[in-house]
């Protein structure tokens, strides 16, 4: 395998290829920085550009875009508390408070370094264990996914918001909202009121950007209007040069969190459909529980940034495990990559490794190279974004509103989505005032569709026979954990 990988490096290390990786990473970051535009939009926009490239250059370019797009989202979350995706909301939890202390650059460095570390870890996992782990993924059927999702809901309810009950309420409000649209089993319409636009449910990007980014920015604008620019604003804008340094020793001090988060992200990434946001929050929760000072989380503890960014970037590489081993895309980004593979003559499926081994190993090599390139370009980028931190909030926040609207409109070109975004900005504001977690709502919505489908598939598959659970050790473990977490949370509360 090492020999194959070296051949891969040989093929991937050409000047043209490096240039395409660099261009991909840079474009990905720039698109990812716009609230609401993440790696998925970046890939969708840029896939057609690759039609004119050589296969390897095209795939290397897209790998760069995917990595850059995933990490770019951390920038608006840290600087402006305007996360466009739920996973960036996890970064904002500690990233923004740190930026308000005048350490925006340091927060971004933490994010970038953790991102690259998590990414590299999961790339290595992908290269080493693609085939055997795919077998594990096949063990996960609807019953197991239902149990995993219940477990995730229980964990999340304790993470954000003031009480687990409010957290659960917000999550299940999200799940409820996800049932709008065509019924996944009978295809009958539910709560669509005759609107074809609603057949596929409410648009996720519009809800996430509205409730997370737009609501936060609007609230900040109201605050600014009432109080004017405060001393904190001025201090945050000025920044503190010494405090913004991040020596390698300090970063390396978080190695335990880094490893745990990268591992969690890789495991979540290998199971198709669970996704980046879940990984980010699970890892954040794990880091908080493991910490000796859990109360410092949410107030600018760098460990929170490390945990989320390492985990969400680790999903990117691991997501390709089911793609390469079985031909099943782990998420939309992987599905777009599959489309690009096909156009460039690689048929995705279980035989990809044997039929296109050279290209796959060149892809692996490109992924590893892209991590180094990502580190270099990201470091330059931080200096650039640091200037943004110095612009008065009164100037930059209105611009973010425009970007939010453009970000929702761009991928779908639908005015209906803009309306949904505005409505959910209102919902987000109300929830922030009443102590319900907006993030829980968005994640409930995000995973709700999968939860309903898995649950109903399981009910059909086992003919509603509850004892089926006893035959699945994986489901049993996760259900027991769910119960344990909930009982503990409510005893404390």
């Amino acid at each position: 395998m090492l020999e194959q990988l070296l051949t891969g490096f040989d093929a991937a290390l050409t000047f043209g290829n490096l240039a395409f990786i660099a261009a991909g990473v840079a474009l990905g970051i720039v698109i990812g920085v716009i609230p609401g535009l993440g790696s998925v939009t970046a890939l969708a926009v840029l896939v057609p550009v690759t039609f004119y490239m050589q296969p390897l250059a095209a795939i290397a370019f897209l790998v760069g875009v995917n990595k850059g797009g995933t990490s770019g989202g951390a920038v608006p979350a840290i600087l402006l508390n305007a996360p466009g995706t739920p996973e960036a909301a996890a970064t904002a939890l500690d990233g923004h408070p740190l930026a308000r202390k005048g350490q925006a650059e340091k927060a971004m460095k933490f994010a970038l370094f953790s991102s690259v570390t998590g990414d590299t870890f999961s790339d290595i996992v992908l290269i080493l264990v693609a085939a055997p782990f795919a077998v594990v993924a096949l063990q996960f059927g609807p019953l197991e996914f239902t149990a995993v999702l219940l477990f995730a809901f229980a964990l999340l309810s304790g993470l954000a918001g003031s009480s687990p009950l409010k957290g659960l309420t917000a999550i299940f409000l999200g799940v409820f909202l996800s049932t709008i649209g065509l019924d996944p089993i009978d295809s009958t319409t539910r709560m669509t009121f005759g609107q074809v636009q609603l057949f596929d449910g409410l648009p996720l990007a519009a809800i996430a950007i509205g409730a997370l980014a737009l609501a936060s920015v609007t609230e900040q604008l109201f605050g600014l209007w009432r109080e004017g620019e405060t001393a904190t604003d001025r201090a945050a804008a000025r920044g503190d040069r010494a405090a913004n340094r991040l020596p390698f020793r300090t970063f390396f001090g978080y190695r335990k969190t880094l490893l745990r988060s990268a591992f969690l992200g890789s495991v979540v990434g290998m199971l198709p459909g669970l996704g980046v946001s879940l990984a980010a929050f699970l890892s954040y929760g794990a880091a908080r529980r493991a910490s000796s000072d859990p109360d410092s989380f949410g107030r600018g503890n760098p460990e929170g940034i490390v945990a989320t960014e390492a985990a969400n970037s680790a999903v990117v590489g691991a997501n390709l495990v089911p793609t390469i081993a079985l031909g099943i895309p782990g998420n939309i980004a992987a599905a777009l990559l599959i489309g690009a593979f096909m156009i460039h003559g690689v048929v995705p499926g279980p035989f990809m490794m044997t039929m296109h081994g050279e290209l796959i190993y060149a892809l692996f090599a490109s992924m590893l190279i892209a991590n180094v390139v990502h580190l270099a370009i990201g470091t330059v980028g931080i200096r650039l974004w640091a200037h943004v931190a110095r612009v008065p909030r009164g100037v930059i926040l209105p611009l973010v509103i425009v970007l939010c609207i453009a970000g929702v409109y761009l991928p779908t070109q639908s005015m209906f989505d803009i309306g949904v975004m505005l409505a959910f900005a209102g919902v987000g504001l109300v929830m922030r005032r009443t102590g319900f977690s907006v993030v829980c709502l968005v994640i409930g919505f995000l995973l709700g569709g999968m939860f309903e489908t898995s649950l109903r598939q399981a009910l059909l598959l086992y003919k509603s026979n509850m004892t089926a659970v006893l035959q699945s050790p994986i489901a049993l473990i996760f259900l027991a954990l769910t119960l344990f977490i909930l009982v503990r949370a409510f005893r404390r509360g």
Binding site: Q197, I328, I343, G349, Y409
Partner: protein, 320 residues
């Protein structure tokens, strides 16, 4: 999405900022007279980016654009199994500048079973491009090799489970089950990506496939073709058209809104015919996706569609 649409979309997004609250606006292009095409043609694909139809449309658009002398802008409008994009094109100006690349299933099934804003007469069928390779498949080591074998196996007792991918695929399989008096439970999955792990992981006994099984030769076997005819990769396996006299809509077509002038349709049809012979497109469709390139002109296609609709009505009546 090409560069120009990206930029246009961004500009439009900025310009509409003020009017953002009034959702549901659609800018209508003024009607024009003169040679077709007078400006870039928008090819709407009503499915998610990354799937085989969208991939096909992207490559085809390049060839078609070269043929028409105007760029083709591919625009994905996924949703409701294709009904969102179809609704949009049905309402577009009938001047040939907004056309749809879709599976006929998305154009025929929703009007027959749901409340949608288009009907069977909303489109002019310009041309067929290819044919989806729909099948009933099982794991390679399953104890049956044919649909008849599967039915015999089912009659030995114990209901079997199968993975479907849409209400329509379930309706067709349930139609067969009712006819044969066997008990099969449909487990809905969201497309081939979910069906494959269900089948290979042993969660279901057999599955409906829209063509993805071609990538899993050696791991899956075809029990029956769900098309009117046999599949190119399994010429010895009978189709449900032969056995039951019904067939699922299988055509991938380009349609224009009803009312599009005859000469525009003719120009378009001629350009499509030449574009289907494009080497890149043929390579993608035949070698990568394992679909046949199958050009059928407007007249013959309409007759084929009428026949498909007759079979569809039969299935709808019995199962819905």
């Amino acid at each position: 999405m090409s560069h120009s649409t990206t930029r246009r979309g961004l500009l439009a997004g900025l310009a509409l900022t003020v009017a953002a609250a009034t959702a549901g606006l659609t800018a209508s292009e003024p009607a024009f007279a003169g040679a077709y095409p007078a400006k870039p043609v928008t090819l709407v694909v009503p499915y998610r980016a990354g799937g085989s139809t969208e991939t096909m449309a992207r490559v085809f658009a390049k060839a078609l654009g070269a043929e028409l002398g105007q760029p083709i802008v591919v625009r994905t409008r996924p949703g409701a199994g294709g009904a969102v994009g179809a609704t949009e094109v049905a309402a577009a100006a009938p001047d040939g500048h907004t056309i749809l690349f879709a599976a006929t299933a998305s154009l025929l099934w929703p009007p027959l079973t749901q409340k949608v804003e288009y009907d069977l007469n909303s489109f002019i069928y310009v041309a067929q491009i290819t044919e989806y390779q729909q099948a009933i498949v099982a794991k390679a080591d399953a104890p049956y090799d044919t649909l008849a074998g599967l039915i015999a196996h089912s009659k030995q007792g114990g209901g079997l489970n199968y993975a479907d991918q849409s209400a329509m695929s379930r309706a067709y399989i349930d139609f067969i089950a009712a006819k044969e008096g066997v008990e099969w439970t449909g487990i809905p999955t969201k497309g081939g990506g979910e069906m494959v792990p269900f089948l290979l992981g042993g969660k279901v006994d057999f599955a409906w496939s829209g063509g993805i099984h071609n990538r899993y030769a050696g791991k899956m076997k075809v029990l029956a073709s769900m098309n009117s005819g046999r599949l190119i990769a399994s010429p010895d396996t009978p189709s449900i058209g032969e056995t039951y006299g019904i067939a699922m809509p299988s055509q991938a077509v380009i349609v224009a809104p009803a009312g599009t002038p005859r000469d525009v349709v003719d120009t378009l049809q001629a350009a499509i015919e030449t574009a289907t012979r494009d080497a890149d497109f043929a390579d993608l469709v035949e070698n990568k996706l394992k679909f046949p390139v199958k050009f059928v002109g407007a007249t013959a296609l309409q007759a084929d569609i009428d026949q498909t609709v007759t079979g569809l009505r039969k299935v709808v009546e019995q199962t819905q």
